[in-house]
């Protein structure tokens, strides 16, 4: 609960700051918010009691704490990367709103992760969705941004409707909304399956699993870069983890349903995500499909339904946070400096901005799962967990998909390092916060893989069916 409280206080502080600062001082909010949030992040690593609150509505254990810390870390990086963008003139009057919205949605995710009943979970989910729609429409002068906002809010409304519909049947058949009470009542019968599948559809929407993913690309493309990175990393990570908890802790008895279900979804997600990603030129859209494909890999971990699965999913999400944010960090720096967001704009980027290119390279390699960067470990352990459940064919197809994904991850690499152009992106200097964020990401990309202690730490907190 501490984390949520800190976030709530932070939100209030920012609200107050908004009220008490003059127009000229607004930009100071940026720094202060980031610093305060950094403090909150650090505080997250302090020892934390486990247990239940509110009669089981709120529960925390090691794993949720780990997960929240991962999210905090990610949000911190996102904040650092947003500096340039927020300091623009047209955003000046919305700085505190930005922080407020991000922090409240993060709070929503934290509640979602820690939820002990479906009501809390649902409220957390909505808290983590509705304000993001506003964030997606943040860009004032971009019709794409507005489009992204409306697409997100309408489709997510539908999806949460379907999710609720499913939940209503779960409630109707088990008589409770508390996880602990539902779990023993769960059995394989048509109505529960129906409810469960509708619930899954709603969650799949959040994690953007095929075929519930259609909003993803459009929203990612239209939203401001930093919001996109927030959406693709933090929001997706939180939703995946929540989904995992609920599957393991509530629907354990439905294993026979959800393993094949996730099998199907994983196949579809990886394949479709990859097929679409291949053709993209817009970087954000490209990363959207890439993140869809990545979600497919996450399912491989969830599928395993054991400690290994939960460990590898959380571990993967951790790596994914650093990895994807490294890529997004570069995209956002370039986008803010030059306004260019297409892969084809990155030609000869290495010759003008070697450091950014290398960061991007590491990020892309990590996304593709190439050693020695962390993505390799993350993916390998996901495959390991799927294999431990005996899904060798799935693993094979997944790795083939990873190979296809390599094809498109190498496209930006090719643009940056190989292709020549007369008009490359000019050399520019990134701001200090961006650099700090990228260094953090790079450190993460390199260390998380090799330092097995991190994996072991997560493993110690893991849980299975």
């Amino acid at each position: 609960m501490r984390n949520e409280l800190i976030l709530a206080i932070l939100a209030l502080v920012i609200l107050a700051a908004e009220i008490f600062t003059t127009a000229g001082n607004k930009h100071k909010i940026i720094t202060w918010s980031a610093v305060l949030f950094a403090a909150a992040t650090v505080a997250g690593f302090l020892p934390h009691p486990e247990g239940e609150l509110f009669g089981g509505s709120y529960r925390t254990d090691q794993m949720t704490v780990v997960m929240k810390n991962i999210l905090n870390l990610g949000v911190l990086i996102v904040f650092l990367q947003s500096f340039d963008w927020l300091q623009r003139k047209e955003n000046h009057d919305k700085i505190s709103e930005y922080f407020l919205l991000v922090i409240t949605t993060l709070m929503g995710m934290d509640f979602m992760i820690s939820s002990g009943d479906f009501l809390m979970m649902y409220i957390g989910l909505e808290l983590a969705t509705i304000p993001i729609a506003a964030l997606a429409a943040f860009e004032r002068f971009s019709s794409k941004s507005a489009e992204a906002g409306i697409k997100l809010i309408l489709t997510s409304a539908l999806s949460s409707g379907v999710l609720l519909f499913g939940l209503s049947f779960i409630y109707g058949t088990t008589g409770s909304i508390y996880y602990a009470d539902i779990a023993p009542q769960v059995a394989v019968n048509p109505l529960q399956t129906l409810g469960f599948i509708f619930f899954t559809a709603g969650m799949a929407f959040k994690i953007s699993l095929v075929p519930f993913h259609l909003w993803t690309a459009d929203v990612y493309e239209g939203a401001p870069v930093n919001v996109t990175s927030y959406l693709s990393v933090i929001s997706k990570g939180a939703a995946s983890f929540t989904f995992l908890i609920i599957l393991y802790k509530v629907f354990g008895e439905l294993l026979a349903v959800w393993q094949p279900l996730l099998y199907t979804l994983a196949l579809a997600t990886m394949t479709i995500g990859n097929l679409f990603a291949m053709r993209q030129d817009n970087f954000k859209r490209f990363l959207a499909f890439s993140s869809i494909a990545q979600a497919g890999f996450i399912l491989l971990g969830i599928l395993q339904a054991g400690n290994l699965g939960s460990t590898s999913v959380v571990y993967f999400v951790l790596i994914y946070v650093f990895t994807n944010l490294a890529v997004f960090g570069v995209v956002s720096a370039v986008s803010h400096a030059t306004g260019k967001e297409n892969i084809s704009d990155y030609k000869s980027f290495y010759l003008t901005n070697p450091r950014l290119s290398l960061t991007m390279l590491m990020g892309l390699f990590s996304l593709a799962g190439i050693p020695p960067v962390a993505g390799f470990f993350g993916k390998f352990f996901l495959f390991t967990s799927a294999a431990s459940a005996g899904y060798y064919i799935l693993v094979f197809i997944a790795v083939l998909n990873a190979t296809i994904s390599l094809y498109y991850y190498l496209k930006p690499v090719r643009a940056m390092f190989i292709d020549k152009t007369d008009t490359p992106i000019a050399t520019f200097r990134t701001s200090l916060p961006t650099r700090i964020s990228l260094v953090m990401c790079l450190a993460g990309i390199f260390l998380v893989g090799f330092m097995s202690i991190i994996y072991e730490f997560i493993h110690a907190a893991s849980f299975g069916l």
């Binding site: 495959f383 693993v395 790795v399 296809i404 090719r414 190989i418 097995s452």
Partner: protein, 498 residues
């Protein structure tokens, strides 16, 4: 400290040091020093290894050390070498060192080039010292991926296409590998804890049904890197487009990872399936051997000729491995080393010739012997090694393979051995065709009159490669016997199942 660690540490330190250099001169100097140290370390390793052996240390793997890495998954950083690995490391060190000199004048993005090259080398060395399949796989992938950049940035011709094809096909291979490795890993649960450790895995007799399922994954997975027909097509394009040092390293060393993995992992750990399915792959490799050689005859681009020749020669490696007898496998390993050296020599020479004539089309050259005698003679030596002339390494390798393969009890194996021997004639045809066209005869292009012979660093690079070829060719006994010894447990395990 375990000397084997040096083979990972030295390259990493070298790469770091290159970062602090300013230009080509610094980068190549640092690389040369680093890889020189590596070569020295390899020599020291060879000597100390055989000193230990002589002192009676008969453990299967020496310099064994084992550090737990991911405890809960029981993944270790386990290293150790037997004499095969030692020789492979020796091979890799020589080729890498020669490769540095072959790229002495790499002007464009030189620091990046050397870093990528050494990263590639790191993967190779790591692969050979690993005894834990996880780290082995990790290093394998490390070795594969810098290829994309190396070919894509510094290559020539349709480099993007080739680089992409090569990368994707090899990664496709690793897709198969992952499945196979995980199968082994979870299969080992029957003996207690799951493990990736090669030594522990080798003590387990996996159920046959399981072996049948996973063997093709592992064998084909490694086989792709070893240019197994019909999955070899990355090789001609890849080699043709790659810069000199990369072709050298790739054909010379990286392709050996495939063969090495095939017997060290696929066949060694899954012996029954290997015995059962060998015939399928034997047919494929026989095709490789003959087909690659015939394919080479028609080519006009020097690198393509050599790439197809590699398909043929590497096919012979897999062919011999699948014969599953000590002699043939011994031949396979000698062939790996021999092919590694000579194909590196070939590619180095092709690069050097290309840098002078700016063409690789054999029809556009002729009579180069007159203007660049050193390169020409070196090319002929490489050619002779390739066609199996006694006194050079190729002969020793091929004869051991053929003799060993022909010792097989089944008529089928003997018949395909005879088919495979055809390749030595075909090889002679294409090698002599090339030599005749480009080196001998009248000087075709008057422009070429002005070209110069090899420079000192080029000579150094070539001599470094020629020396071991000659040494292996003239005094093969020690090499061969040590490999035979190391193969003993593997062959015993393979034949115990029949």
């Amino acid at each position: 400290m375990n000397i084997l660690n040096l083979f990972v540490i030295i390259p990493v330190v070298t790469m770091a040091a290159i970062l602090f250099t300013k230009d080509l001169r610094g980068a190549r100097l640092v690389s040369a020093v680093g890889m020189g140290l590596q070569l020295i370390a390899a020599v020291v390793l060879i000597f100390s290894f055989f000193a230990l052996r002589k002192a009676g240390d008969s453990a299967e793997f020496l310099f064994y050390s084992d550090v737990t890495w991911f405890e809960s998954l029981n993944i270790h950083y386990a290293i150790g070498v037997d004499s095969i690995a030692v020789w492979m490391i020796g091979l890799a060190s020589v080729v890498v060192f020669a490769g540095i000199f072959a790229s002495w004048q790499m002007e464009y993005l030189s620091r990046e080039f050397f870093i990528s090259l050494i990263l590639l080398a790191t993967g190779v060395f790591g692969f050979f010292i690993s005894l834990d399949l996880f780290t082995m796989f990790l290093f394998y992938e490390v070795a594969v991926i810098p290829m994309y950049l190396l070919i894509g940035i510094w290559g020539s011709g349709p480099k993007e296409y080739s680089a992409m094809k090569l990368t994707l096909m090899l990664m496709g291979g690793s897709a198969l590998l992952i499945v196979g490795l995980l199968g082994l890993y979870f299969g080992s649960a029957q003996a207690g804890e799951v493990t990736f450790n090669l030594l522990e895995l080798s003590r387990i007799n996996f159920p046959v049904t399981m072996q049948r399922f996973f063997f093709p994954f592992l064998f084909v997975g490694f086989g792709i890197l070893g240019a197994l027909f019909p999955l070899h097509t990355w090789s001609p394009d890849g080699h043709a487009s790659a810069p000199t040092a990369v072709s050298m390293l790739h054909a010379g060393v990286l392709m050996k990872l495939g063969g090495y993995g095939c017997f060290r992992v696929a066949m060694f750990l899954l012996p029954e399936a290997a015995n059962e399915m060998a015939w399928i792959f034997l047919i494929l490799t026989t095709i490789s051997v003959v087909y690659g050689a015939f394919g080479a005859i028609w080519q006009k681009d020097l690198k393509y000729i050599n790439a197809y020749s590699s398909v043929s020669h590497c096919g012979l490696v897999l062919f011999a491995l699948l014969m599953m007898n000590q002699t043939a496998m011994d031949g396979a390993i000698i062939q790996m080393i021999s092919h590694g050296l000579m194909t590196a020599l070939f590619f180095a020479l092709i690069g050097m010739i290309y840098s002078r004539t700016h063409t690789r089309n054999i029809n556009e050259m002729g009579g180069l012997m007159k203007v660049m005698p050193f390169l020409a003679v070196a090319y002929m030596i490489a050619g002779f090694a390739s066609l199996g002339l006694p006194g050079l390494s190729g002969f020793v390798a091929e004869m051991t393979v053929f003799i060993g393969s022909f010792q097989h009890q089944d008529l089928f194996h003997r018949v395909i051995t005879i088919i495979a021997t055809l390749s030595i004639v075909i090889t002679a045809v294409y090698i002599l065709r090339v030599v005749g066209k480009i080196l001998l005869g009248e000087l075709q292009n008057p422009e070429h009159q002005k070209l110069g012979d090899a420079l000192w660093f080029e000579k150094l690079s070539l001599v470094l490669l020629i020396l071991p070829i000659v040494a292996m060719g003239t005094l093969p006994l020690f090499l061969s016997n040590t490999i035979l010894d190391a193969l003993k447990p593997i062959v015993e395990r393979l034949t115990a199942m029949i």
